[in-house]
């Protein structure tokens, strides 16, 4: 149940297959739910050429590790996986992958979504987009309940 931070492009589908074949017991899990967040080339009606994803390295790793642990305690899972990019990211590149493996579909779906919602609301990452009008920090319109 690792959380992996990387600063280079990754192929989420290959990572799922690799992790699955190395860490999961074949024939044991019946449900694999996954989510991939990919960089778009537009946001709020402006063309985005690339972005920089800043983070708080020690806290990010700590936060994501604990999120995986909490997730495994909360749902009946065989395993879960998070991979998250940081640094410079270009359109069409995957930013984040969350995966949950379970015997049954409900915990797999619930856990995969839980990982993403928690990560979106609390993992210390900040996006700065570069558009044709210059740089801008991305704002999250959702209220934070963490203050």
């Amino acid at each position: 149940m690792p959380a992996i931070l990387i600063d280079t492009p990754f192929n989420p589908w290959e990572e799922i297959q690799r992790y699955q074949s190395e860490q999961l017991q074949a024939g044991h899990y019946g449900a694999t739910a996954s989510f991939v967040g990919t960089m778009r080339d537009f946001n709020i009606n402006e063309t985005v050429s690339h972005m920089t994803l800043e983070h708080y390295p020690a806290m990010t790793q700590h936060y994501l590790d604990r999120l995986c642990e909490t997730c495994r305690q909360k749902y009946e899972l065989d395993d879960c996986l998070i991979i998250h990019r940081f640094g410079d990211i270009y359109p069409d590149e995957p930013i984040v992958l969350t995966v949950a493996w379970s015997a049954h579909r409900a915990p797999a779906f619930d856990a995969c979504r839980y990982l993403m919602e928690e990560l979106k609301s609390s993992a210390p990452f900040w996006k700065k987009e570069v558009t044709d009008k210059g740089e801008r920090w991305v704002h999250n319109d959702l209220p934070s309940d963490k203050k």
């Binding site: 806290m59 979106k120 999250n140």
Partner: protein
């Protein structure tokens, strides 16, 4: 020992620095760390605070040697 203060993202740019060391004086809260580190600026409403990688509220107590971080709402994923 002292307090290691960190600012991230837009807050780092607003404050004009990424990190600084602050002399520890007892008692100290996250709010007093902010005030001393920023020259008594007011803390933006949506600022997130962490002590040693854990989210805390601004009235949380700080201990000598702690790392105290301030940052805007997160936008990862």
């Amino acid at each position: 020992m002292s307090i290691n203060v960190q600012f991230f993202a837009s807050l780092r740019e607003t404050i004009g620095r990424q990190q600084l060391a602050l002399d520890y004086t007892s008692p100290m809260t996250v709010q007093t760390v902010w005030s001393q580190a920023t020259g008594e600026q007011s803390m933006p409403d949506n600022t997130l605070c962490a002590i040693n990688m854990e989210y805390v509220k601004p009235d949380a107590s700080v201990q000598d040697g702690d790392e105290v971080a301030f940052f805007p709402p997160v936008t990862g994923g």
